[in-house]
C-alpha cells in the first residue's frame, strides 16, 4: 500500500466536498418533500391522503439506484421538449441536479413517515388550545406543531440522513465527481483498487462519525427542557 495516494489526495478531498454538498442539498429537498408528504397523509381530505400515501409507498418500494438512473436518463426527452418550448438551444439535467432530485425524493418518502409519526405524537390538546386562542390553522401548524415535531422527528431524521449520505455513492454511477467516482479514477491510474476503495470507505466512515456527533448535539439542544425519560 502506498500512503501518499499517488497524489490523488486533493482529488479525493474535492470529491468529499462534492459528496457533502450533494447530501446537504438532497437533505433540504427531502425535508420539504417529507413535510409536504406528512401533511398530505394527515390531511382530512381523502384524495390528498391518497396522494401522500402513494408517494411514500411507491418511492420506498423502488431501489434508490433505479431512481437515480430514471431521473438522469429518463428526463432527457422531457428536458428536450422543455428546451424547445422555451426556445433554448439545449437543456439537460446535470448529474448533480439529477442526484439531488433522486436522493431528495427517496429521503422525502421516508421522512414522510417520520414526520407523520411526529405529527400524530403531538397531543390533541395542544391543537385544541391553539384553536381556543383563535389561531388560524396555518398559525397553529407553524407555532405549535412544527416546533414540537422537530424534537420528536429528529432521531428518525438522523438515521435517514446517515442512509442518505451513504446513498450519495450511487450518484457516481451517472458520473458525478464525488468520492466514489474520484476513487474509481484513481484506481484506473494506480491499479490499486483495494487501497483507494478502502480510503473511500474510511472517508465515508469519517463523515458518518461527524454526522453522528452533529446529531447528538442537535438532539441534546432540541431536547432541552425535557427530562431524559420524557425526551
Amino acid at each position: 500500500m502506498n500512503f501518499d495516494l499517488y497524489g490523488f489526495g486533493p482529488a479525493l478531498a474535492a470529491g468529499t466536498l462534492m459528496t457533502i454538498k450533494l447530501a446537504l442539498s438532497a437533505l433540504v429537498l427531502g425535508l420539504v418533500l417529507g413535510l409536504l408528504g406528512a401533511l398530505a397523509k394527515t390531511s382530512p381530505y381523502k384524495p390528498v391522503q391518497w396522494l401522500g400515501g402513494t408517494y411514500s409507498t411507491i418511492v420506498r418500494g423502488i431501489p434508490e439506484l433505479l431512481w437515480v438512473l430514471l431521473i438522469y436518463f429518463g428526463t432527457v426527452n422531457m428536458m428536450r421538449t422543455l428546451a424547445d418550448v422555451l426556445g433554448l438551444e439545449s437543456l439537460e439535467l446535470s448529474p448533480f441536479a439529477a442526484g439531488v432530485i433522486a436522493l431528495g425524493i427517496c429521503f422525502g418518502a421516508y421522512a414522510t413517515e417520520v414526520f407523520r409519526g411526529a405529527i400524530l405524537a403531538i397531543p390533541k390538546g395542544h391543537r385544541e388550545a391553539g384553536q381556543a386562542l383563535g389561531m388560524s390553522k396555518a398559525r397553529i401548524f407553524w407555532r405549535l406543531i412544527l416546533p414540537q415535531m422537530w424534537r420528536i422527528a429528529l432521531p428518525g431524521l438522523g438515521n435517514l440522513f446517515m442512509i442518505l449520505m451513504k446513498d450519495t455513492a450511487l450518484v457516481s454511477v451517472i458520473g458525478l465527481n464525488e468520492i466514489m467516482r474520484r476513487s474509481q479514477i484513481a484506481v484506473t491510474a494506480s491499479k490499486e483498487p483495494f487501497t483507494f476503495f478502502l480510503v473511500a470507505a474510511f472517508i465515508y466512515l469519517g463523515l458518518t462519525i461527524i454526522a453522528m456527533t452533529g446529531m447528538y448535539f442537535l438532539e441534546k439542544r432540541a431536547g432541552r427542557g425535557f427530562s431524559r425519560s420524557a425526551a
Binding site: I58, G61, I62, P63, E64, L65, L66, L69, L70, F73, G74, V76, N77, M162, K166, D167, T168, A169, L170, S172, V173, M180, Q184, V187, K191, E192, P193, F194, T195, F197, L198, A200, A201, Y204, L205, T208, I209
Partner: protein
C-alpha cells in the same frame, strides 16, 4: 408510454428478477445464520465480547454498500495472494462477489436487530427459565432466542426489503439482475422511461409479495400473542 416495448421485453426483465431474488434470498438467509452468533455476542455483558463485533458492525453500517462491493470485486484482485489462492474462481465471479458482499453487509444490520431483540426479552422470563434449572445455554436456546425471533421479525422483514433494493447495486459489477437487465435493454432500445418504469413495477410487486409473506409468517409464529406480557 410505449406499452408494446414493455411487453416485448417483459420476459427478459423477469429473468433479471429471478437473479435479483436469488441474490436477496442467499444474502438474507446466510446473513441471518451469521448474525445469530454475532447478535448473541453483542448482547453479552463482557465488554470484549461485545466490542469485537461492534467494529465489524460499525464498518459495514458506516460505509456505502457500493464501496464494499467494489472492495470485494475490484479490490481483492490487487493482492497476488488472492489471485493465486484457492478462492480465486469464486472471487472472480461477480455473482459470488455480490452475494458475499450483500451477506456481510446485511449480517451487520441483522446482528444489531437481534441484539435489540435479545435485550428486550423481559428479564423475568430469563429468570424464570434459570429458576426452573435451565443452564444459560438452554435458556438461550429455548427461551431467549425463540422470544427474540418474534420480537425481531418485523425489523428483519424491513431488512429483507432493504436488501431487495440494495441488490440493484449488483448491476454495477456487471450482473444482469433486474436493474442491470433494464440498463442493458435501454442500451438497445433507448427507452429509459418505459423500461425503468417496468423494472420499478417488478420491484414493487416483489416487495409487496415479500411484505405479505412476512405478514403470514408473523401470524404463523403468533407474533401478536407474544407481545402481551
Amino acid at each position: 408510454m410505449n406499452w408494446e416495448v414493455i411487453i416485448k421485453w417483459l420476459p427478459r426483465l423477469a429473468e433479471g428478477a429471478v437473479l435479483t431474488l436469488e441474490l436477496v434470498a442467499i444474502a438474507v438467509i446466510a446473513g441471518l445464520i451469521l448474525a445469530i452468533p454475532m447478535g448473541i455476542a453483542r448482547s453479552s455483558k463482557n465488554l470484549l465480547v461485545r466490542g469485537l463485533p461492534y467494529g465489524y458492525i460499525f464498518f459495514f453500517r458506516g460505509t456505502p454498500l457500493l464501496v464494499q462491493l467494489f472492495l470485494v470485486y475490484y479490490g481483492l484482485a490487487q493482492f497476488d495472494a488472492v489471485r493465486n489462492g484457492p478462492f480465486w474462481p469464486i472471487l472472480r465471479d461477480p455473482f459470488w462477489c455480490a452475494v458475499i458482499t450483500m451477506t456481510l453487509h446485511t449480517t451487520a444490520y441483522i446482528a444489531e436487530i437481534l441484539r435489540g431483540a435479545i435485550q428486550s426479552v423481559p428479564q423475568g422470563e430469563i429468570e424464570a427459565a434459570r429458576a426452573l434449572g435451565m443452564s444459560r445455554s438452554q435458556a438461550m436456546l429455548r427461551i431467549i432466542l425463540p422470544r427474540a425471533a418474534r420480537i425481531g421479525l418485523p425489523a428483519y422483514s424491513n431488512e429483507v426489503i432493504l436488501m431487495l433494493k440494495a441488490s440493484a447495486l449488483a448491476s454495477t459489477v456487471t450482473l444482469l439482475e433486474l436493474t442491470g437487465m433494464a440498463r442493458t435493454i435501454i442500451a438497445r432500445t433507448y427507452l429509459p422511461v418505459e423500461i425503468f418504469f417496468a423494472a420499478g413495477m417488478f420491484y414493487l410487486v416483489i416487495a409487496y409479495v415479500l411484505v405479505q409473506a412476512f405478514r403470514l409468517l408473523e401470524r404463523w409464529l403468533r407474533v401478536d400473542a407474544c407481545q402481551g406480557r
